[in-house]
């Protein structure tokens, strides 16, 4: 007995059922599953004592984003001087740096001195802290006495002071070279120097910088961030991309994703991870940048090591640049006077007890005086302002005495 073959075919689902499955059942199932996971996750957080709260998560993401998106890569330009202020130091390609006020002075001085119709007696004052004090205290007396000198009678005095606290040779020489290359030729250059060359120069050498380089504290902030080689830029770019990603995560949180505890937890972890990663990248960048500067940009040639070498090198830089300044002025028909300013030794670093520089009090001045005497052989006018300072009580009295001596020496030469 045989049974006839049978076929078990099912009827195709109806169109309504297909629509239900495709557009309602599965999406709803997925939504319910996500909800179940979300609720499960929230329950697990409550059980483990770390309940999830939308507001708290939003606050955390916002705080992390704020901490990590507001970071600026650029460092402040000058210690203590607010950006845009007159005393803010700006990098200068030939004089290392100039204060914002001196950049303006330079612009005005060049425009004025190139004006052939002017009859003013142009006086340029250069140097460091002593020159700065002199420029402030000597103005009236110079205005009064300089026009009494032969050839300058009756001329109105125009002052152009480029003196600044930490300026030292060869910055003065480079500045006057630059002025004259631009066609700005003054009648008189007064250089009050010696202190920074010796003390700041020695302090530079103690900090593994060449004494001919600018004062470390002023130079370092200007070159920081200057590591723009390919590898350093790659590090900066990585940090920057990292910052963008943190901003994107924060933006998604703001768009409502914060209500999902799973996503928000992950986002917080992600931001923290990115922040850590970026911090490491920026540290590498900073170390790379500092290392590059220490070796090359910041340090200059190998500095002298022993105290006597430091003094000799610093004094020699002062002498070499001052004799060049005298020669340059002579070639342009500019009268030139250099005053060796009074100062105390050892320098402030040793006084503060931070580090002894190993220099005996007075040894630097002795070497500097020997160097200054060589200027006499080169027909340059130099004045020992320390000798004048012995009998004077105030900076104004000293400045007046120095002006009188300058005028006396100019008249005699």
């Amino acid at each position: 007995m045989s049974t006839p073959p049978t076929s078990t075919t099912t009827a195709p689902p109806s169109a309504g059922r297909r629509f239900f499955e495709r557009w309602l059942f599965w999406p709803l199932s997925l939504l319910l599953l996500a909800l179940a996971v979300e609720l499960g996750h929230r329950a697990q957080r409550i059980v483990t004592g770390r309940p999830y709260l939308d507001a708290r998560a939003a606050e955390r993401v916002a705080k992390l984003a704020e901490e990590n998106v507001k970071i600026e890569f650029a460092r402040p330009s000058t210690k203590g001087a607010p950006p845009g202020s007159d005393s803010e130091l700006l990098p200068h390609p030939y004089a290392a740096f100039l204060s914002r006020a001196h950049v303006r002075t330079l612009e005005q001085a060049v425009a004025a001195m190139r004006d052939a119709t002017r009859t003013e007696l142009d006086v340029v004052i250069v140097g460091g802290v002593g020159a700065q004090m002199f420029a402030g205290a000597s103005r009236e007396r110079l205005i009064e006495t300089l026009p009494t000198l032969p050839g300058w009678q009756g001329r109105k005095v125009a002052f152009w002071s480029f003196a600044d606290t930490y300026v030292k040779e060869p910055q003065q020489l480079e500045l006057v070279l630059y002025l004259t290359a631009l066609g700005a030729v003054p009648d008189l250059v007064i250089d009050v120097s010696g202190r920074n060359e010796l003390l700041v120069g020695s302090a530079n050498a103690l900090a593994d910088m060449h004494p001919a380089y600018p004062a470390r504290a002023q130079w370092q902030p200007l070159v920081f961030g200057g590591a723009t080689d390919r590898a350093s830029l790659d590090l900066l770019v990585t940090a920057w991309r990292n910052q963008r990603e943190i901003a994107a995560v924060a933006a998604r949180a703001k768009a409502g994703w914060i209500h999902c505890s799973l996503w928000a937890g992950d986002a917080i972890d992600r931001i923290e991870h990115l922040a850590l990663e970026r911090s490491l990248v920026l540290t590498s960048y900073q170390r790379r940048s500092e290392a590059a500067q220490r070796e090359l940009v910041l340090r200059g040639p190998s500095p002298p090591i022993t105290p006597s070498q430091r003094i000799a090198t610093s004094a020699n830089i002062w002498f070499q640049s001052t004799r060049d300044l005298a020669a340059l002025c002579s070639a342009h028909g500019i009268r030139f006077v250099v005053a060796l300013e009074p100062f105390e030794e050892p320098h402030h670093a040793a006084k503060k007890g931070s580090e002894s520089n190993g220099e005996k009090p007075g040894s630097g001045r002795k070497v500097l005086m020997q160097a200054a005497k060589r200027l006499t052989e080169l027909d340059a006018i130099w004045i020992d302002a320390a000798e004048l300072a012995e009998e004077k009580q105030t900076p104004r009295e000293l400045a007046a005495a120095l002006v009188d001596e300058i005028v006396r020496r100019l008249a005699a030469n």
């Binding site: 650029a74 460092r75 330009s77 630059y178 200007l222």
Partner: protein, 412 residues
């Protein structure tokens, strides 16, 4: 089936069309072009057109860094200076004569390729018998006045005082001076593309980093694409090879345009005051005239510093390819000597002014040699780009001013 046939037709059609146009297709040329584009793009600052392969060690030495009295220097230059300072004192019983060469990259290359011939000429003087001649190279790419006077003063401060100072300059002063002015900077300031990149407060601003990121993306894209194309030997097909070169050129153009935007961004914002230098006085409105005036004034300053130390100052106005009438331009020089419009304007207007100012310097007693016309009858190729001389050119330059240098030394 239709695609392979179409590709074959395209391949042979393109080869036929190129052959008919007279240029023909060369797989070697395509490979060389792809390699060159890749090599030129390895550094962040785009290298000029050059066939020289990228050398990572050399690239590190050529890295520019901030220098307080020169605006910038290169890593190799700082290391070289360190060696020069160290070796400046003679050993006991040794008698040395030191000749320093100042200028831009032309002077830098001359110190390698022209000096041997110059030394031969100097050796004819009896005073050099038994005397060691030390050549000190202070030429740096992009250097120009007043950087050179600043360099000399800095070296003197360091105690480096040679017996002779040769200043071989001219081209950068007018070409880069004009370019500076077009970019809004004073002609006396260092060349903007060299100096702007180093200003600390420019490079690490977020908006500048964004541009740097985009350049690095394009550079990586070009590097990866060229590597991919070269690995697969795409040059074997005229069609694919041509497309590959076109794509690489387009990526290179994007990198160059990106770098222009990057330089532009650095020129704005906080770094601007430090970058642009003093405002141009009214009589400096002509930046080429101003560049020439600075060139002459700075040369007078260098002479004054040298003479006060009894150093012979010898000034040479360098020849340059695009100075009209300076040289019959060879086909190879025509091909390789493409020049920026600002540079060309600077050379054309500046060289006649420099010849005039140089004659005035000479009349005032400066030892000045105008070498700008020494190749006017030389037809062989002497330049390998728009301003740099090949070895033969450097030898001819040495011969041209060597006699006057010998004479000047003989007079002392």
């Amino acid at each position: 089936m239709i695609w392979p046939i179409a590709l074959l037709l395209g391949e042979f059609g393109l080869r036929g069309a190129l052959a008919a146009s007279g240029s023909g297709y060369s797989a070697e040329d395509v490979r060389a072009t792809l390699t060159r584009l890749r090599e030129q793009n390895r550094e962040f600052v785009p290298r000029p057109n050059s066939d020289l392969p990228w050398n990572p060690a050399e690239s590190e030495r050529a890295e520019r860094v901030v220098q307080p009295y020169l605006g910038y220097d290169i890593v190799g230059g700082l290391q070289l200076l360190e060696d020069q300072i160290r070796s400046f004192k003679d050993a006991p019983g040794q008698r040395s004569f030191r000749i320093a060469i100042f200028g831009g990259s032309v002077a830098q290359i001359f110190a390698d390729e022209g000096v041997p011939r110059l030394e031969q000429l100097l050796r004819e003087l009896p005073r050099f018998h038994g005397v060691q001649i030390h050549w000190l190279s202070f030429g740096r790419g992009g250097f120009r006045q007043p950087q050179l006077q600043a360099f000399l003063a800095y070296l003197f401060a360091l105690g480096v005082a040679p017996d002779v100072v040769i200043n071989l300059d001219g081209f950068n002063e007018v070409a880069l001076g004009k370019q500076n002015a077009s970019l809004g900077s004073h002609p006396s300031f260092p060349s903007v593309p060299h100096w702007a990149q180093l200003l600390a407060r420019g490079a690490d601003r977020p908006q500048v980093i964004a541009l740097a990121a985009s350049i690095r993306d394009d550079q990586t894209a070009l590097d990866e694409f060229a590597a991919w194309a070269l690995d697969r030997g795409v040059e074997r097909s005229a069609l694919v090879g041509t497309l590959a070169v076109r794509r690489a050129n387009s990526l290179r153009a994007r990198c160059l345009a990106g770098f222009d935007r990057y330089t532009e961004a650095l020129r704005s914002g906080q770094a601007r005051r430090a970058l642009i230098g003093p405002a141009l006085p009214a009589d400096f409105e002509d930046p080429i005239g101003a560049s020439v005036a600075i060139w002459a004034a700075a040369s007078r300053n260098m002479r004054a510093l040298c003479e006060a130390r009894n150093i012979l100052y010898f000034h040479v106005l360098q020849p340059t390819l695009h100075d009209p009438g300076a040289k019959p331009i060879h086909a190879d020089e025509e091909r390789d000597g493409a020049i920026d419009a600002d540079w060309l304007a600077g050379v054309r207007a500046g060289y006649p002014l420099m010849r005039e100012a140089g004659a005035k310097l000479a009349a005032d007693g400066e030892t000045f040699f105008d070498a700008s016309r020494i190749f006017e009858h030389v037809t062989e190729p002497l330049y390998y780009d728009n301003c740099h001389l090949n070895e033969r050119g450097n030898q001819l330059l040495a011969e041209a001013f060597g006699a006057q240098l010998v004479e000047a030394l003989d007079r002392r």
